[in-house]
């Protein structure tokens, strides 16, 4: 069960992130979570929003390079050791994390972790075996 996220190419200069945020805001798109990976020259912005298709369209209209990519979102209790309990079985299976980011759900005292693994399908299998709750696109939009 993979979820979709938006990946946006950004130059590493002032105001770029703000512009993306403004375009999304102006179009009534709500950002659920985001992370920014950067180098001295450029950055890759990854976003989970409530309407991927629309977000992609409005950003494309403003001439951004945007891709919809797949990641896995899991829900864990917001407590010490929560992340480790997810990662240990995966590393035992030789699955690597390419990147990850996390946010806390306001209402449920749960944390949502978003992962990109080198092998997504195998990761899902391992997570299921360990009874980790994997979120669907619908679920994540409703958070």
């Amino acid at each position: 069960m993979k979820v979709e996220q938006l990946s946006v190419f950004l130059e590493n200069k002032a105001g770029r992130l703000a512009e993306v945020a403004k375009i999304l805001g102006d179009n009534g798109i709500n950002i659920r979570a985001l992370s920014l990976a950067d180098t001295t020259d450029f950055g890759i912005l990854r976003l989970i929003v409530n309407d991927n298709e629309k977000a992609k369209e409005v950003l494309k209209d403003e001439r951004f390079t945007v891709k919809i990519t797949e990641v896995i979102a899991v829900e864990v209790d917001d407590r010490p050791g929560g992340l480790a309990s997810i990662l240990l079985p995966l590393s035992e299976e030789g699955i690597n994390v390419e990147y990850m980011y996390a946010f806390v759900e306001k209402s449920k005292n749960k944390a949502v972790l978003v992962f990109k693994f080198d092998d997504l399908d195998k990761a899902i299998e391992v997570l299921r075996k360990n009874n980790v709750k994997i979120l669907t696109n619908e679920e994540i939009k409703q958070l």
């Binding site: 020259d41 890759i44 990854r46 001439r63």
Partner: protein, 441 residues
């Protein structure tokens, strides 16, 4: 300053013209008989070599362009069998077809004589130690001037390009008196000398002979002051021969004398292709008069200049050309290497299967040209994973550096950046200062 071949370089103009016509008729017969593409072009126009009865008649002959080299790649324009060829040079570039040129034994002899003229005109004698910091290899710069310097009887140091600190050590220890390289590299040497704390008084340099790229009078003054030398310009292009086509004399340092006994020159309007009178700016067109392996008829150099005849204080009667002030095509010269935007396009296409928008940005930092290629981060080369993204940039960088023959810095940019700063069609942004000269002329 001694003149290497006064019998030709100072020949009365009317005699020179008789010599040119004699040689022109001969070369036309040779290409008509031995080079199929020329025969075909002349037949299409219904011209036989014997129809050309005066130098003015040359305007009836078809032009030769870089496309002719491509279409007849690699040896199709050669006028002699391969067994007569003793040397091959070519343009850089692994994408697109390079320009291949060949030389017979006699061509090399002619070439050495012509670069000997260049060096003599720039002050070099048999007592000099000539430091050649042009690249040796397929590029014609190094080898071309090398043999001319030997011909004069000078002591030649074939140091080639790169490793500037070592070059300075060699100049200091071996007592180089004449420096041969690109003008920007000369300035770079001055810069590195400063860093190393080497003063010009520790060197024995007297003369600098610079070429392979455009440069300005202010660069000349800067080089002369910082290195304590007299600097002259020389011009040539590999298709025609390499360095040795035209050269400044130390006496005037103004205008480059064209070796008219070997090259017949015209200036044309690049649009109408009509010949222009002397003194008017246009595209330089060269016909080789003595080359055996690869004679060229009305070769369009794409360099913009003017030709003019004046009484020169050095005594040479050869017609002069002004420093080229620009190009009629989109070629740029970076560190002495010719680069066409189409090469970048082809290289990008090869890597990603798509051709993203790009802009070539050339700048000069510490007197060395820097080549950046800004590539639009379009879908096919944009990755969500940082590792893959960096791998892609490295791949593009490596490929472009290979293809262009010059170290290239690749920057991935947002589509908007290219549109905003460059406009749609612009492929090249040149920030080097000699451009200011271009605009004036």
């Amino acid at each position: 300053m001694p003149i290497f071949e006064p019998e030709f370089e100072c020949m009365p103009v009317d005699e020179l013209k008789i010599l040119q016509l004699y040689r022109l008729k001969k070369v036309l017969r040779i290409v008509y008989e031995n080079v199929k593409p020329y025969r075909k072009k002349m037949d299409e126009r219904g011209i036989k070599p014997d129809d050309i009865k005066s130098l003015e008649n040359i305007k009836y002959l078809p032009f030769t362009t870089k496309d002719d080299f491509r279409e007849n790649y690699p040896y199709g324009l050669f006028a002699v069998p391969m067994e007569k060829i003793v040397r091959i040079h070519s343009s850089s570039g692994t994408t697109g077809k390079p320009t291949v040129v060949g030389y017979t034994k006699r061509d090399l002899e002619t070439w050495s004589t012509l670069t000997a003229r260049v060096l003599s005109a720039g002050g070099v004698t048999s007592r000099d130690v000539v430091h050649i910091a042009f690249g040796y290899g397929l590029f014609t710069g190094g080898f071309g001037l090398h043999y001319g310097a030997e011909k004069i009887g000078a002591s030649v140091i074939p140091v080639s390009s790169g490793q500037t600190k070592r070059q300075i050590m060699i100049m200091k220890d071996y007592g180089s008196t004449a420096l041969v390289c690109t003008p920007s590299y000369a300035l770079h040497i001055a810069e590195v000398m400063k860093e190393m704390g080497v003063d010009k008084s520790e060197l024995k340099l007297k003369y600098g002979l610079f070429g392979a790229e455009p440069w300005t009078e202010s660069m000349r003054r800067e080089i002369e002051t910082r290195l304590g030398i007299e600097a002259t310009d020389n011009y040539g292009l590999s298709e025609v021969m390499g360095p040795g086509v035209s050269y400044e004399c130390l006496e005037a340092k103004s205008g480059l004398h064209i070796a008219e006994d070997h090259f017949l020159v015209e200036v044309i309007d690049p649009e109408t292709e009509e010949q222009l009178p002397e003194g008017e700016w246009g595209e330089l067109v060269i016909t080789t008069l003595t080359k055996e392996a690869l004679p060229l008829i009305r070769y369009r150099t794409r360099d913009i200049t003017k030709i003019y005849r004046e009484k020169c204080s050095c005594g040479r009667t050869l017609i002069k050309m002004a420093k080229p002030s620009g190009r009629t095509d989109d070629m740029i010269i970076v560190r002495g290497v010719n680069i066409f935007p189409s090469q970048v396009e082809e290289a990008l296409l090869e890597i990603s299967g798509v051709s993203p928008h790009y802009v070539i940005v050339v700048d000069r930092k510490d007197h060395l040209d820097e080549l950046e290629v800004w590539v639009e981060a379009e879908d096919a080369i944009f990755f969500d994973s940082m590792r893959k993204q960096k791998e892609m940039i490295d791949k593009i960088t490596e490929h472009l550096t290979q293809a262009l023959g010059v170290k290239t810095i690749v920057k991935l940019v947002e589509p908007k950046t290219l549109e905003r700063s460059m406009g749609k069609a612009k492929r090249v942004v040149d920030r080097r200062d000699f451009l200011k000269n271009y605009e004036k002329s």
